[in-house]
Symmetry: C2
Subunit: 722 residues, 2 copies
């Protein structure tokens, strides 16, 4: 027990601490900078902030979201202070409050009780908050989001630390505890969250915080995405199937290999070349290796003719032999990565040199996409192997290495996407790092880490971060592993198989050595048929997914979302990190790590197995068993699901033949499909239409809003699932 | 190839970078602060620096080391600059320069090419430079040491990063490289060191650097240790064997169990109690649990009577039920650890409260030592499990959590060692963290990590850091593992077996479950005899080791040293991280990971197997095979090795019966033994003698310098090994 004297002394101590806080300069008042978006500033600001690279907000759509007029509660209680090592913000939390977000977190979902260190890194290094696209932005279950507008590493203590003064509150009884039987047992601090949120930026002299209002978590994310410029709207082919071929392939081998998909009628939209296409790859020359690729123009033309969209691997570390090296070096950081210059993409000059070259050499020649590798920094935990520019690097813009490390992936993708925009071409890229306000970018993040469970978490977390996530399929252990991973991939923003180390199809042989020696599986053709069916399912979902992305763009609704975002009042969803919503009506529940049976939680209402149509009553868990030929998707009652006849690839003349499946007997909600050119930015000039699907009195009908510039859909039939 | 234009542009860029550096405030001139110790200061200094807690230097001894009058070369070329995130120092290095040190590094030895992040942490987290006792202090093979006098995390880039401007130097040819076959292959950056040393302190506005002159690396360390106050001089019993018993033991069980060593005549000096002795342990009450230990005074008295020195486990996180909690809370940090207050040991008041209590309650009652656990912070890589106070913590002294994290272990041991000094008692403690200027402290660092190879590296690195290291024996896989680990432990500063989870002796049963169920090994008694012989070998080395520690104290010579420190011109020693010097004449080469054969490198001259007397010619490698009953030690030709008849424990009346073994026919160097009370600080008032051992014309003789206050040695015989 703590006696009165203790309380008195502690109270004195608390006052001393508070006075330390109060002695610092006071924060400016919070100001409204957009409907439902508030800003508060303390101290001296960073010269270059993430918001400096933000697209223009979608003002009209933001105006339609519910928003209050009063300063959000979380800002009213905020306390800033300057410490000798940096700046600190202290916020409170409620006892039953939960937190999500922090960008594309890899191995965690609910964030309360954790310390988060927002640092771009290609590996998580345990559970620190490191990620390819970590963001100083969290979303509260109380319906607000807190964003720190900083390019520095930002540290968040989400109730992970208890203040000494709390000892007097009697919340934790002072009991004499037996020593545990293992240090692990003693050290665990889980589920003992305090009620403090602390945010620290080391080396900073100020902090700018934006708060996004709800009232729901989904509203917070809608507002954030719209404020960032609206969600990404990929070209339709970007929703198709993608394949990346062996890095040693020559032009002839690519041309030969790529016949496979067409000959076997297996859908494939994008075909990717790995490092071998360049004269120098680590670092990069951005020059075709003519020994291996003698006539790139011809390659592009033949591949495009076959319906492939060609994608080129690269990174931004510019090799001394590159034609742009001399020009870009003066606009680069003062440290090399792999002997290459690191362009300072904050500078218009650097963007122009890099962008013009790529535009003239590749984009204008028909390259439709890039894979922007290695723009996260890597191996933080290996003092001899980290290959990034250091934190102490200086860039001509005035940014240091730390700030550039956080920003680099975002600026890199922006630089090339801006070039596509100049050509009025919509691309869908791959990129290995991103940061705040990336929502409008047509790019998917991927990784070298490979835990299937983490991949699912990342799909879910992508909805809290305004990113697209590609759980690419790569190393494969077995047929089961291949199919289950392909399923997850088919239920993601970006369906990609990356076989940069395999000569033959991965479904012909899983083992690398055997594959490259042409020793194929006896049942290769059998597996191929399963894979074909699976990819076809993805292709049939393109119109549905395209509409989900249009809603992402125009309304900010994340196309892939945590269950808790749609069912915020259902306790069962609070920690649900292995199932998620895809679009408005489909719930995905991937099977991972060899399981053929798993628990699936169904929120209130009826749900229907996508494969069999079997009905499940909601507000409960069901044990679900699924074979490898069934997709682990469940459709919400009251849904009109437009399913297309699978095509092999999206072409400028594609018209989807669609069957509308109507689920259940509850009230059926109208849905819409998005119809535009899909390869250009005409939609920004209102060259698009919404094709509305309605179901009333047992009969389907369509209407159209807007101007049809291109016919994309043919609604051929309606069917009922009950 | 890089053309002329590139060079011109890069030159311009280099000037731009340099001008950035030059625009900052200029560092003060370097000043000599002690013979061979130089200080340079840049910018605003930290309010509390590690040197503030330093003991008084050993001025006389320092005056005897060779020292120049000119500012060291490394300081002449130093460049400081202020970045927005912190302060930066840039130093050069020569092409063939090598680096060692950075405190008690765990898994690395030679440090060139590495990034080092000096951060106290109980786990290494890969290869970052984290350690229990990391120090911003490196030693160059060119014969100087660079110490950053900061309690902050300090980042060192030891040639790990290449500047862009270096591309023009033509050192790395710009060749088009094939993509590698694995990312690992591509990412490795090893052995491609640049010629820059960069030192950064984030969040700092200045930097103070001390440079220690050589001319040799050994001189650097001698100077550093003497500047720190001279090396530790443990009580003689501190060099004996130590055992820590099961944490659940009661007083009766301790009394019963401790009979074992005496009954079986197995040496044991210190007996340690683990957390169970307290009423509250995580955090700590510092109160005997009377349910289990009803009469502690009686326990102490009986144990002391049996020749045991009692050691109590604790950590400094003070539980609310502790009698000192109310008093210490106002002098503690504003965050708790395990519900305990964290005393600010920089404050005299905090030291007085904590120290007085420990003195009156334990030290005056006969407790001769403490194990100061958990004073490193732990689990940095686990966002939910790290149990330290956070970096944002504030301490009443003005220190923040980061500064305290680096300093805590050092201040904690100093606080209790100061109490022992008040009582004129020499202790030998265990402590899990330390920092700069710890050389004089009688404490050994230990860890929860357990790689045997790392343990050997840490013995070697202890010589570059002014620390004692205890490769304690704990979990055991096999008889072989037990014996080999015990051998390494016997060849270290602190021979300790920590069986906090075992009811029976570890050599009676290795497996935890079986051990605790009294299921003992069939050959337990046989193993016991091997263990006994091994510990007896350690006991026979006490006079030799005590002399080595006296040389550490008075001359700064590290008792455990890298081979490269004694043979700096022998290339073969540059990377030798698995053998080391113990004292002046013994080379240790532990067998690890199941090996019974290993390569041992012998520097020039002849060497003798400690066990068999077999001679090995030096300047070459030999393949050595050793059984479990042989100690992997080799004696240098020309050595007089004083070996004692083993005793079971050191008592106030101990007189060692010594045989001097004289090795080889080369010139035999005289050696000395240190003779004093060994339990008190009388030696500081010149109450000690050096007993000199001489060998001339085939005959041994002794002389004595100083005043004999106590007879410790009886030289009973001389023998020759040829």
């Amino acid at each position: 027990m703590i006696n009165f004297k203790t309380v008195t002394i502690l109270r004195a101590f608390l006052c001393f601490t508070l006075s330390l806080v109060m002695s610092n300069s006071v924060a400016q008042q919070a100001t409204k900078i957009s409907p439902g978006v508030w800003k508060i500033v303390y101290g001296e600001q960073e010269a270059i902030k993430p918001s400096d690279f933000k697209a223009k907000e979608m003002a009209d759509a933001m105006g339609k979201l519910p928003a209050g007029n009063d300063v959000p509660l979380v800002l009213k209680g905020i306390k800033f202070s300057q410490m000798s090592s940096g700046v600190l913000a202290e916020l409170g939390m409620e006892d039953n409050e939960r937190f999500y977000g922090f960008g594309l977190q890899v191995n965690t979902f609910e964030q309360r009780g954790l310390r988060r260190e927002i640092r771009t890194n290609s590996q998580t290094i345990g559970n620190l908050g490191f990620s390819h696209a970590p963001m100083p932005f969290y979303i509260s279950s109380k319906g607000y989001g807190v964003l720190v507008n900083s390019s520095r590493y930002v540290n968040f203590y989400m109730g992970s630390q208890h203040k000494l003064a709390e000892a007097t509150a009697g919340k934790e009884t002072a009991k004499a505890n037996e020593p545990g039987s293992s240090p692990e047992e003693l050290y665990r601090n889980k589920n003992r969250s305090s009620s403090n949120v602390e945010i620290q930026i080391k080396g900073a002299k100020g902090m700018e915080i934006l708060v996004f209002e709800g009232p729901t978590m989904r509203n917070v994310m809608e507002r954030y995405n719209l404020y960032s410029g609206g969600g990404a709207l990929p070209p339709m082919w970007g929703l198709g199937f993608k394949y990346r071929a062996k890095n040693t392939f020559t032009q002839a081998e690519v041309l030969d290999f790529s016949k496979y998909f067409r000959d076997n009628h297996i859908p494939c939209d994008m075909f990717g070349l790995e490092p071998g296409w360049q004269t120098a790859a680590y670092s990069c020359s951005y020059v075709w290796n003519k020994d291996k690729y003698p006539t790139p123009d011809s390659l592009i033309s033949i591949m495009n003719g076959r319906g492939y969209k060609l994608n080129l691997w690269e990174h931004a570390y510019t090799h001394p032999t590159s034609p742009i090296f001399s020009a870009i070096a003066p606009f680069s950081g003062n440290y090399k990565v792999w002997n290459g210059a690191v362009p300072d993409f904050t500078l218009p000059k650097a963007r122009a040199i890099f962008g013009d070259y790529h535009n003239n050499t590749f984009i204008k020649k028909g390259i439709l996409s890039f894979k922007l590798d290695e723009c996260d920094a890597a191996y933080y935990d290996d003092g001899s192997g980290e290959w990034s520019f250091p934190d102490i690097a200086r860039f001509p813009s005035g940014m240091d290495g730390e700030q550039m490390r956080q920003s680099f992936g975002l600026l890199y993708q922006k630089t090339l996407l801006d070039e596509y925009r100049k050509e009025n071409i919509r691309s869908m890229m791959e990129v290995r790092a991103s940061h705040l306000f990336a929502s409008p970018y047509n790019a998917a993040i991927y990784t070298d880490m490979y835990d299937h469970g983490d991949f699912v978490k990342m799909i879910i977390n992508s909805g809290f971060s305004g990113t697209n996530w590609s759980p690419e399929v790569r190393d494969i252990r077995s047929e089961e592993d291949l199919i289950r991973r392909l399923q997850t991939s088919a239920m993601s923003a970006h369906m990609n198989v990356n076989c940069w180390f395999l000569k033959n199809l991965p479904w012909y042989q899983f083992e690398r050595d055997k594959n490259n020696k042409d020793i194929l599986l006896p049942n290769a053709k059998e597996i191929e048929q399963k894979v074909k069916k699976l990819i076809e399912t993805r292709m049939s979902l393109i119109p549905y997914l395209y509409a989900a992305f249009a809603d992402y763009h125009y309304k900010g609704i994340p196309p892939f979302r945590a269950m808790v975002m749609d069912y915020p009042d259902d306790k069962e969803t609070f920690k649900l990190d292995n199932q998620y919503m895809m679009g408005e009506s489909i719930m995905c529940a991937p099977f991972i790590n060899g399981a053929s049976t798993r628990d699936v939680y169904f929120p209130a209402g009826n749900w229907y197995d996508f494969n069999s149509g079997k009905k499940y009553a909601g507000a409960q868990k069901h044990k679900i068993t699924m074979s490898l030929t069934e997709m682990p998707m469940f459709v919400k009652e009251g849904t009109i699901l437009p399913l297309a006849k699978p095509i092999e690839f999206v072409s400028p003349t594609t018209v989807f033949d669609i069957t509308c499946k109507v689920y259940g007997n509850a009230e059926v909600k109208p849905v819409h499909l998005f119809e535009d050119d899909s390869n250009n930015f005409g939609y920004e000039a209102n060259k698009f239409a919404w094709l509305n699907l309605n179901w009333k009195n047992g009969k389907g009908s369509t209407t159209r809003d807007g101007k049809q510039v291109k016919k994309l859909y043919n609604i051929s039939s309606w069917s009922k699932v009950e």
